[in-house]
Amino acid sequence: MVKLIANTPCGDLLPRAIGTVSLDEVIVDQITFVAPFNGQQKAVSDALKAAIGIGFPAPNRCIGTGPRAMWCGMGQALVMGASCPDLAAQCVDQSDAWAIVKVHGVDAAAVLARLTPLDLRASEFKRGHTARTLIGHMTGGITRSGAQSFEVMVMRSMAATLVHELTQAAENMHGRETSLR
């Protein structure tokens, strides 16, 4: 009889701490991709609110603290950390589709600024903001989770590249800082 064992996308590549920045894998048990059908956005939002307490997010927003709803494209969101009710929407399990890394620390924004063209200034990209953008050459998402914290997500198959690029950027920042001492 077979026994299936689960692996996380980043596996033993993380955690890492480089200079002022730590890189940690974020494990979300359940991620459902939700795309309301034509004219159903409000109904879907209401149904979500009733079921898990949060509605369908506005573009570029991530709402909720326990279960979360993260906008992830035109008419699309990821319901994270809760099971998704029946909705008038395309609902697809993407629990295993993403590699998610939390980048935390004084230089977190500076590290990401080496990889993404997104404007990460606190005045522009606040807690609860999320964006679909480029991380290096990868398409992915960035969400601000705190003053010095971001969650970066890319396709699962690119986990190693993501960790490599974040590590390299953090090492460059660290190298600059240590050389100033």
């Binding site: 064992i5 689960a6 399990d93 993407q94 993404t116 200034r121 890319v154 690029e165 660290h174």
Partner: protein, 980 residues
């Protein structure tokens, strides 16, 4: 020579460095040029064409002469400007473009031949005999040309790229830039202040002006401290803004670690992409030389540079200095030198009313008409209102006036405007959307004017941003007028150099005009004027004036060439930072990646993915042995292959089937639940885009697969169709490529294998060919598809990716226990060729459905993408190359992909070309080579023989044309239904 007590770094610690192997001592804070001049080193380089001895001309990045090489092996860095390179202990610099030494350079013979090497001479000769260009002339020219040398070694330094965003980018931190930054910052704007220098202050560091009653440098340091304390200000030193691009994007190069011992842990350079709502160009001005005879000897420098060396670094570039100018500003050089106790042998001022600002001789209506000194200036000949005389001097400070640094304003095709007052070009308003110009860059030259213009422009900018500009006190500063008279060239015997590095002189410009290269662009391209590493920063305006004179036009009518990015050269390493090695493109790993590597499989790139080529077993010495074994294994027992790289798109909605019918040329409305169908996707021009299978998982739910290569393209295409062409269809889709790890289980024993791992077994009746549905594997919900890319009885089983690695190992173990095993891309390719299945080798973008035998799949009962264009008579009909199978008449005959097909006996030339081969394999099943290819009218030529010719590999093989399906044409294996 150091001047005691002078210089901002007068108390700098000693620093030891070498130049051409000789050890020197400089001071902390020196540039290499300053330190060399402090050590009385004058000769630092050789020019490009004539290998003329050259010294330091400037004190900035515009330096055309003092280019050196630093580092060795992989660290070797050529063409470093000595004028900006800061020294550090152990720095080793070498001169370049000279052999055997800087003092005795044999290529200087070119200078003797120069009468014959006039502008563009090479266009008129080196044509005979014909073969000599590549063999003789060009190699000699190439060896002589070039400046420094690359080592040829793979880069070992770290470079980085980064993005930054701000409200206001201020380019240059001189008096205008500092005031602009302060004004903008106090208004609350996010400010980036970028300056090329290691220290902010611009000309204030090089002049003796007071600002607000303090030394200018001290005042600047105070402002910088204020700015540093503000959270909304980012100060970027050693950072040159290199280019202005659309919508407020700027490129900038930061030299992060040029000024310290190289260290791989620290980026050497960083290339910035700065996005700014507004920018203020405060880049100052560059002084221009005067074209007088032999104006290029080491020791002849710009007057401003002499002041910089004196005031900033306490270095007098000569013991007895002369000044030659047409403007008041250059007199400051004499004043500062006299104040510092350095001898000023005279100021030669071309103006009849030249002023006298200090205790030094002034030669009114004066011109320098000759110079002497081979490796260093020794004397000059002056013609002036009182006659002609020789003056002994080892340093001549020249100034033909100042040119505003307009370059960035020209990066979007803007043309600068001629200003008769300053006799130079100033930026034209609006040249770069969002960019304003302040200070000397706008043609305002007094310190007072710069400070004032910085405040004024910044106020305008912040108001436009909707901010309130705070009050800034205007510091007091010098406000002398800038007085200048035209002086572009001086008559006299000897060459009057314009472009120092490229050795272009006044006569070259005149020759261009004489030969009717009168357009400024023609002149530039014919003479190479302005094409050196300074891109004409030192010489373009003067050269234009000379051309204007030679062609009888005014300077504004003569026009300008275009300044283009980058403002200073940017290393490929910096602009391409992060891409070296594997950073060029992301790597995609399947969940079986590690297990595959553990099994010793060589990986190959499939798009961004890594896939196993084959899985070698002990004793196998070639890939073909492994491949043949893997093919036999699938044909006879069972094989496992990770196929997760295929694109998988979940499609749902009331109109999902109608949507599929619109993107596929064949019909999907009739596809039943729990069934899979092959689909062919066309481009709108009627040619094949991609193919794959689509499974119907529920009433309104489908999963489409794409080829690995086309997954992204298909997703974009579906977005296009759904959003732009068929918004009426209520359908949604999302990629599930990454959610599912999917494995082919192929071979006669595939069902047996599956039944050993599935929680509930399957049989042939409930799981016929092209069935699909949900299954459970140790309690995990998976999906099973009975599809086959090998022609065997086969399945693809999918589980959520977290279980992929685990399932793969268990499938492999199970298969091996049954006499089968895992197979790679080589075997997969053989299996599909034997069955005549196509890949992008066949659907290469120029074939339509009919060409591959699927013409009837293009349903005419409905519209779909590509339907109309695919039905054009000339696309469908006419003589087209069609997909065929090819097998050698002699079973030992070799087939090669990329070979062309000819009627047997015909010459293998284009007019006889009948087709070509796309895919080839050795078939262990059939015992000979097989090929797929395209042949003119091929569908009607099965049974004919053709000649396969591969000139490149020396292969000629007579082949039989056949149906592309070589094995099991009725597909009985794949359709197997028995439960045995």
């Amino acid at each position: 020579m150091r001047v005691a007590g002078k210089g901002l770094n007068a108390h700098g610690a000693p620093v030891t460095f070498t130049f051409d192997g000789t050890t020197f001592e400089g001071r902390e804070g020196d540039t290499l040029a300053a330190a060399l001049l402090a050590n009385d080193v004058r000769l630092v380089g050789r020019s490009f064409k004539y290998h003329r001895p050259r010294g330091i001309l400037t004190a900035g990045s515009e330096e055309p002469n003092a280019l050196v090489t630093m580092g060795t092996d992989a660290a070797q860095d050529p063409n470093i400007r000595a004028t900006t390179q800061e020294i550090y202990d152990g720095l080793a610099a070498r001169s370049q473009n000279a052999w055997p030494s800087l003092n005795r350079d044999v290529m200087a013979v070119n200078d003797l031949l120069s009468p014959f090497l006039s502008a563009g001479f090479y266009y008129k000769t080196f044509m005979w005999p014909k073969s000599f260009w590549e063999k003789v002339y060009e190699p000699i020219i190439r060896r002589a040309a070039g400046l420094g040398a690359l080592s040829g070694a793979t880069n070992e330094d770290t470079y980085e790229k980064a993005f930054a965003h701000c409200d206001v980018l201020i380019i240059g931190a001189g008096p205008a830039g500092l005031m602009a930054a302060l004004t903008a910052a106090r208004s609350g704007a996010d400010v980036i202040l970028a300056d090329e220098d290691s220290q902010m202050g611009g000309r204030l560091l090089a002049e003796t002006y007071d600002v607000d009653g303090q030394a200018g440098a001290d005042w600047a340091a105070g402002i910088v401290e204020d700015l540093r304390g503000m959270a909304n200000v980012r100060l970027m030193t050693r950072t040159t803004v290199t280019g202005a691009y659309d919508q407020g994007t700027y490129g900038a190069l930061e030299l992060v670690n040029h000024h310290r011992t190289p260290n791989a842990a620290v980026p050497r350079e960083c290339f910035w992409r700065i996005v700014a709502k507004r920018s203020i160009l405060c880049a100052g001005a560059l002084e221009r030389p005067i074209a007088f005879p032999n104006n290029d000897r080491p020791g002849i420098m710009t007057a401003g540079a002499v002041r910089t060396y004196l005031n900033r670094w306490g270095v007098a570039p000569g013991k007895s200095v002369t000044v030659f100018a047409n403007n008041d500003d250059a007199h400051r050089t004499a004043v500062d030198l006299v104040d510092a106790g350095v001898t000023v042998a005279g100021v030669i001022d071309s103006r009849a009313d030249a002023p006298q600002f200090g205790d030094y001789p002034v030669f009114k209506s004066g011109l320098v008409i000759a110079t002497k000194g081979r490796l260093c200036l020794e004397s000059i000949t002056v013609q002036h209102s009182g006659g002609t005389r020789d003056i002994r001097t080892d340093c001549l400070a020249m100034s033909g006036g100042w040119n505003p640094t307009v370059h960035l304003t020209c990066h979007m095709n803007g043309r600068p405007t001629w200003d008769d007052y300053i006799l130079s070009f100033v930026p034209t308003d609006g040249s770069i959307p969002g960019m304003s110009v302040a200070g000397a860059a706008s043609g305002v030259f007094s310190t007072h004017g710069c400070l004032e213009s910085g405040i004024k422009i910044a106020r305008e900018v912040v108001l436009e941003l909707g901010l309130t500009a705070g009050d800034i006190d205007m510091p007091s500063a010098d406000d002398s007028a800038y007085r200048i008279e035209p002086l572009w060239q001086v008559e006299g015997k000897g060459r009057k150099w314009l472009d120092f590095q490229n050795d272009v002189h006044v006569k070259d410009i005149n020759l261009a005009a004489q030969e009717n290269f009168r357009s400024v662009e023609h002149m530039k391209r014919y003479t190479t004027q302005g094409m050196a590493t300074d891109q004409g920063k030192n010489s373009n305006v003067s050269a234009l004036a000379v051309l204007a004179d030679a062609t009888g036009r005014g300077i504004p009518e003569t026009g300008t060439t275009t300044f283009r990015p980058p403002y200073v050269p940017v290393s490929i390493g910096a602009m391409g930072a992060g891409a070296q090695g594997h950073g060029f493109a992301p790597e995609r790993h399947m969940t079986s990646h590690h297990a595959t590597l553990d099994r010793g499989a060589p990986m190959i790139e499939a798009g961004l993915w890594y896939r196993p080529s084959y899985f070698p077993k002990t004793g196998e010495t070639t890939w073909l042995e492994s491949c043949n074994r893997e093919v036999n294994m699938v044909r006879n027992t069972v094989g496992i292959c990770d196929v997760s790289t295929l694109g998988k798109i979940d499609i749902q909605g009331p109109d999902a089937a109608a949507f599929l019918d619109f993107v596929y040329c064949n019909t999907f409305l009739t596809l039943k639940e729990n069934r899979v169908r092959y689909g062919l996707m066309l481009r709108e021009d009627g040619y094949v885009m991609d193919d794959g299978t689509t499974a119907r998982l529920g009433p309104n739910q489908y999963v489409m697969t794409t080829t690995t290569a086309a997954a992204g393209q298909v997703m974009k295409h579906l977005d296009w169709v759904s959003q732009a062409l068929r918004p009426d269809l209520d359908v949604r889709f999302g990629s599930v490529t990454e959610q599912w790890a999917q494995f082919a289980v192929a071979g006669p024993k595939s069902r047996d294998l599956l039944n050993s791992i599935l929680d509930q077994g399957i049989d042939g009746e409930s799981w016929p060919f092209m069935a699909c549905g949900d299954v459970q594997i140790s309690g995990v919900a998976g999906r099973l598809f009975r599809i086959s890319f090998s022609g065997e009885h086969a399945y693809e089983i999918a589980v959520p990716s977290r279980y992929g690695a685990s399932l793969f190992r268990q499938l492999c173990a199970q298969a091996e226990a049954m006499g089968g095993g895992v197979y790679g891309m080589e075997a997969l390719n053989v299996l599909r060729i034997e069955k005549g299945f196509i890949t992008h080798s066949e659907i290469h973008g120029r074939v339509n459905a009919a060409d591959i035998g699927f013409g009837r799949m293009v349903s005419q009962k409905k519209d779909c993408i590509g339907n109309t264009a695919s039905q054009r008579p000339d696309v469908v009909g006419g003589e087209r190359e069609q997909l065929v199978g090819l097998k050698p008449i002699d079973p030992k005959g070799k087939l090669t992909a990329g070979a062309h097909l000819f009627v047997d006996g015909a010459d293998a030339v284009r007019v006889n070309d009948q087709g070509y081969v796309t895919s080839v394999c050795y078939s262990p099943t059939l015992g000979h080579d097989l090929a797929l290819g395209f042949l003119l009218d091929g569908h009607n030529r099965h049974g004919e023989t053709v000649q396969l010719v591969d000139h490149l590999r020396g292969v000629e093989t007579v082949c039989e044309v056949c149906h592309p399906v070589f094995l099991d044409p009725d597909n009985t294996r794949a359709k197997e239904t028995s439960n045995g």
